[in-house]
């Protein structure tokens, strides 16, 4: 069946305001989701599920968080790494100190802590705009990583300053065999730690991210999202139609930091397995920002497309180098070459399509709608 919307009449406003008003889009979406849940675990490849897909999903979530703030509410932030770190360390401490809590709750609590910190560092956004704000958010980045480096409590006084994710189950220790909620034991799988299977880690990550992405999509198409976009497009006009700028901006910071915090927690518990401030440094903040820009500002799908590009580019470069033959390029040269190609690709994409992959996707769909006729 061709990609057409002709003949799909909407008789209610509810139908008109659905996420995918076009039938074929819904099919593609559900199909894609089923593939994402079923196919990778079937391959059984730890490499595909871990370093590639889980990493992509986790960074995609962080990019989504930043996109809510930068792409929708128009506030540039360079503190993403710091907020991810808050989520990661908060989640680590909840999991470590309150093992009764389900891991999912730990992860969400990590997000909540990040949201609270985000509100504090979002306060200057009321007075500061644009690049000044971007630089001010660097304060969050540097201060937060410094704190986690210098206050031993956060890493449980680990001598190397590295917090290893403890083995925790999906529903917490109460739901284990013999616990007060023992009847839940069969589904109470081990999610984190060295004994957890890559399949479980991947599926839990995917489930959390699908749910959060859906919530984000709802948020941006409702009154909250419109208030953010109004502030982004013209803050003066937004204020004059009665939008409270402080409340709106702080809400954006809170929600964005929540997503980044959850991403940070997932990074530690389902992807890498330990928390280290090096993983949440400024380079990480920039990496996430790139994902947002290359994926497309103001697009949920774009965040994941951008993450895919940035995660997969080094992989592709490595494979290319390997096929070209071992030894012709030293690892130093390769890493420098990677820098150059990475930077070049970013510039190239900005020149070709400043609105990112999401825009390309949209243009593609518009063309497809008319295909095979050009007009």
């Amino acid at each position: 069946m061709l990609y057409r919307e002709a003949g799909q009449f909407k008789t209610t406003y509810a139908a008109d305001q659905a996420i995918f008003p076009i039938l074929q889009d819904r099919w593609v979406f559900w199909g894609f989701l089923i593939i994402a849940f079923v196919v990778p675990p079937l391959t059984g490849s730890q490499y595909v599920m871990g370093p590639i897909l889980t990493q992509l999903l986790v960074f995609g979530l962080a990019a989504l968080g930043l996109n809510l703030l930068t792409g929708y509410a128009g506030q540039i932030s360079l503190g993403t790494g710091g907020f991810m770190a808050v989520g990661a360390y908060a989640c680590y401490n909840f999991a470590l100190r309150v093992p009764e809590l389900p891991l999912v709750v730990d992860i969400m609590l990590g997000g909540v802590c990040a949201a609270l910190v985000g509100i504090v560092f979002g306060l200057p956004s009321l007075r500061i705009k644009g690049f000044y704000l971007a630089v001010a958010t660097l304060a969050a980045q540097f201060f937060l990583t410094w704190i986690f480096d210098h206050v031993g409590w956060f890493t449980n006084y680990d001598p190397a300053g590295v917090a290893s994710a403890p083995s925790r189950t999906l529903l917490g220790s109460w739901a284990q065999e013999g616990g007060p909620l023992g009847f839940l034991a069969p589904i109470n799988v081990l999610v984190s730690g060295p004994r957890a299977t890559p399949e479980t880690k991947y599926l839990v990550t995917l489930a959390i991210i699908v749910a959060l992405a859906l919530l984000a999509k709802n948020l941006v198409r409702s009154s909250t999202g419109r208030a953010w976009m109004a502030i982004r497009d013209m803050d003066i006009a937004a204020e004059i139609i009665g939008i409270n700028p402080l409340r709106t901006k702080l809400l954006a910071f809170a929600v964005s930091s929540f997503y980044c915090g959850v991403a940070g927690a997932l990074y530690v518990f389902t992807y890498v397995g330990n928390a280290d401030t090096e993983a949440f440094d400024l380079a990480r903040s920039f990496q996430i920002l790139f994902m947002v820009i290359i994926g497309g500002l103001g697009s949920i799908l774009g965040a994941f497309l951008g993450a895919a590009f940035i995660v997969l580019l080094p992989v592709a470069l490595n494979i290319t180098a390997a096929t070209l033959g071992e030894g012709t390029l030293s690892s130093d040269t390769l890493s420098n070459l990677e820098l150059i190609i990475f930077g070049g690709a970013i510039i190239f994409f900005l020149i070709v399509e400043p609105n990112g992959f999401a825009r390309l996707w949209q243009i593609g769909k518009e063309k497809l709608r008319l295909w095979p006729f050009p007009h």
Partner: protein, 400 residues
């Protein structure tokens, strides 16, 4: 224990290192003022300039060495461009255009160079030089006179007698920075004219990666010592020890600022520059050549980067961490305002003094040290809450 002399010493040390921050910040201010671009690659430019300079200095030994040949090459290119400009009839052929000629020459050089250099690092340098010649040629094709003048001047300077290596390397680095600036202008900025500031900002971050990659890949990632003839030894005034080097750096910064201030306010180019900063389209509509102005500003920023790179390089050694100096410059920019040259200086002083005093009197005794990474940012953030336009920025009147 409160010791006023010690405090003063820390304060002055902080102020003087603050001047060095200002030097880096100046590059940002220049470009922001003239093009509204927040050039994140400024730190990489500092690294690039310092690495180029130190390596030219290291490889040049005899009179007829590497750099001399490079200078001769420049001179030859300059002559060719000049002739091309004078006698355009030479290239009346439809088939041979200057652009194609440039590509052809580059291709030949790219093929030849790897043969001359025996693989490894040198091969990369060869490829880099080939690309570089390509840039010179393409830029020269567009503005032959300017290119010829710059190249010829540099070629002459390179053969100055006396402290041959130093001055020759300096001149060569200067020209390389100018060409880099022109290349950035034509390959990155021009296609992005009229885009949102954030897009330009992102492009400069991409640029940052490219320049860092080139700097480390083509040159190397080792730490190089750089001696510019000023020793970092302290002298004493009234019980306070001050370094000669810091004084020298402060004077250099002062001279640069004075020069830039005159340039901005009293020259034709300066006026055009301010017009461009105000509104790209309006400036273009009155016939200001946007591209030239941008090229000039980026070149000026490149020169500032060179000075900053030399001073910082001789203090810390030339190495990758020079690129991270950009992050010291950012709070300076916030405090001083993105568009104010004197603001960059005063901001630098404040940042330098605050972070040293805070680290010595609060950070180390009570917080376990390392506060320098964030204290300037916290200061800037708190400061902005009370004065959003920065120290020297004009009060923003919003109109609707």
């Amino acid at each position: 224990m409160w010791d006023p002399i010690f405090f003063l010493e820390v304060l002055i040390g902080g102020l003087l290192s603050g001047v060095m921050y200002s030097l880096v910040a100046l590059g940002f201010v220049l470009i922001f003022k003239a093009s509204g671009v927040f050039n994140f690659a400024q730190g990489a430019m500092v690294l690039f300039a310092a690495l180029t300079f130190v390596l030219l200095l290291e490889v040049s030994g005899d009179f007829w060495d590497w750099t001399a040949w490079l200078s001769l090459g420049f001179a030859a290119v300059a002559g060719g461009l000049f002739l091309l400009d004078r006698f355009p009839s030479v290239l009346k052929s439809k088939f041979i255009t200057p652009g194609r000629l440039a590509i052809a020459i580059t291709a030949i050089v790219i093929v030849l160079l790897p043969m001359l250099f025996d693989g490894g690092q040198n091969m990369w340098r060869g490829v880099f030089i080939a690309l570089f010649i390509f840039l010179v040629l393409t830029i020269g094709v567009r503005q032959p006179r300017a290119a010829a003048a710059i190249l010829l001047g540099v070629a002459l300077v390179s053969f100055l007698p006396g402290e041959i290596n130093f001055w020759r390397s300096l001149a060569l680095t200067l020209v390389i920075m100018i060409i880099l600036a022109m290349a950035i202008e034509s390959m990155v900025l021009r296609p992005l004219v009229n885009q949102e500031p954030i897009i330009l900002f992102m492009a400069t971050i991409g640029l940052n990666f490219v320049i860092e990659g080139i700097a480390q890949g083509v040159w190397d990632a080792d730490v190089h010592a750089l001696d510019i003839g000023i020793e970092d030894i302290p002298f004493e005034i009234g019980g306070i020890f001050i370094s000669y080097f810091d004084i020298f750096a402060a004077i250099t910064a002062g001279l640069l600022v004075a020069g830039l201030a005159i340039f901005f306010h009293s020259t034709r180019v300066g006026r055009a520059l301010r017009a461009v900063a105000d509104d790209h389209q309006a400036a273009m509509s009155v016939g200001i050549p946007l591209q030239n102005i941008w090229a000039i500003v980026w070149a000026a920023a490149g020169i500032v980067a060179l000075f900053a790179g030399m001073l910082w390089g001789s203090k810390l050694g030339v190495q990758f961490s020079l690129a991270l100096l950009a992050f010291k410059a950012l709070p300076v920019l916030i405090l001083g305002g993105f568009t104010s040259v004197p603001g960059a200086i005063v901001g630098g002083l404040i940042v330098g003094a605050t972070e040293k005093v805070f680290e010595v009197f609060v950070g180390i005794p009570y917080l376990g040290g390392g506060t320098e990474s964030w204290s300037p940012y916290m200061l800037a953030m708190v400061f902005l809450l009370f004065r959003p336009q920065g120290l020297f920025g004009e009060k923003i009147i919003e109109r609707v």
